[in-house]
Amino acid sequence: MKIEVRVAPLNPWHEVADYEQAQTTLHGMAGAAAVFVGTMRELNEGDAVSAMTLEHYPGMTEKHLEKICAAAAQRWSLLDTLIIHRVGELRPADPIVLVAAWSAHRKDAFEACRYIMEDLKSNAPFWKKEQLPSGHRWVEKNTAGY
């Protein structure tokens, strides 16, 4: 299990590949990996967005993400989970978040990955401020995930 909140740019596919390779307990055991990557769009609510600042609550964010992963591991049969989330300055097309769940079977991997992502969007203390042509705008709420 790994949880990382970081300023450095994120190449999610390389991160998943590296993590999976390093976790030798997955090899031959994990029949299923479900991965979600959220990426910054250049358009939100009809407005062009040229940049974004992601703020978080250091300490609580990591604690909350650990809690989500523990809850998922209670509910589904999981072999491992990985969350990486960026903070700081982002540009359109920059990956923001990576969530991965490994399991023996696909049902658990799919459902856990989506559950973790939904809880992260609903409850993990991150906040987005968008740079629009007209100035800054705090994003007020996330779109529904179900």
Binding site: H85, N123, E140
Partner: protein, 77 residues
């Protein structure tokens, strides 16, 4: 007693403050802490409260040394 207060995101901008150390009486609630730290402003209805990095609510009693955070709805991911 003393509690550490933190504000985040739009709330931090509106209040012009990211946090403070507040002296407050025993049995104070998170709402009492807000009032003192914000200089008497009404708490916006959608504000979330965390005590020691766990979600709580404004009626929760705070204790000496607690970290009390106030922030708007979260928008990560």
């Amino acid at each position: 007693m003393t509690v550490a207060v933190k504000f985040f995101a739009s709330l931090k901008e509106q209040l012009g403050c990211d946090g403070a150390s507040v002296e407050i009486g025993e049995m104070a609630t998170a709402a009492d802490v807000w009032l003192q730290a914000s200089g008497g402003k009404a708490m916006p209805g959608n504000v979330l409260v965390a005590i020691n990095m766990e979600y709580s609510d404004q009626n929760a009693t705070v204790h000496d040394g607690d970290e009390v955070a106030f922030f708007p709805p979260v928008t990560g991911g």
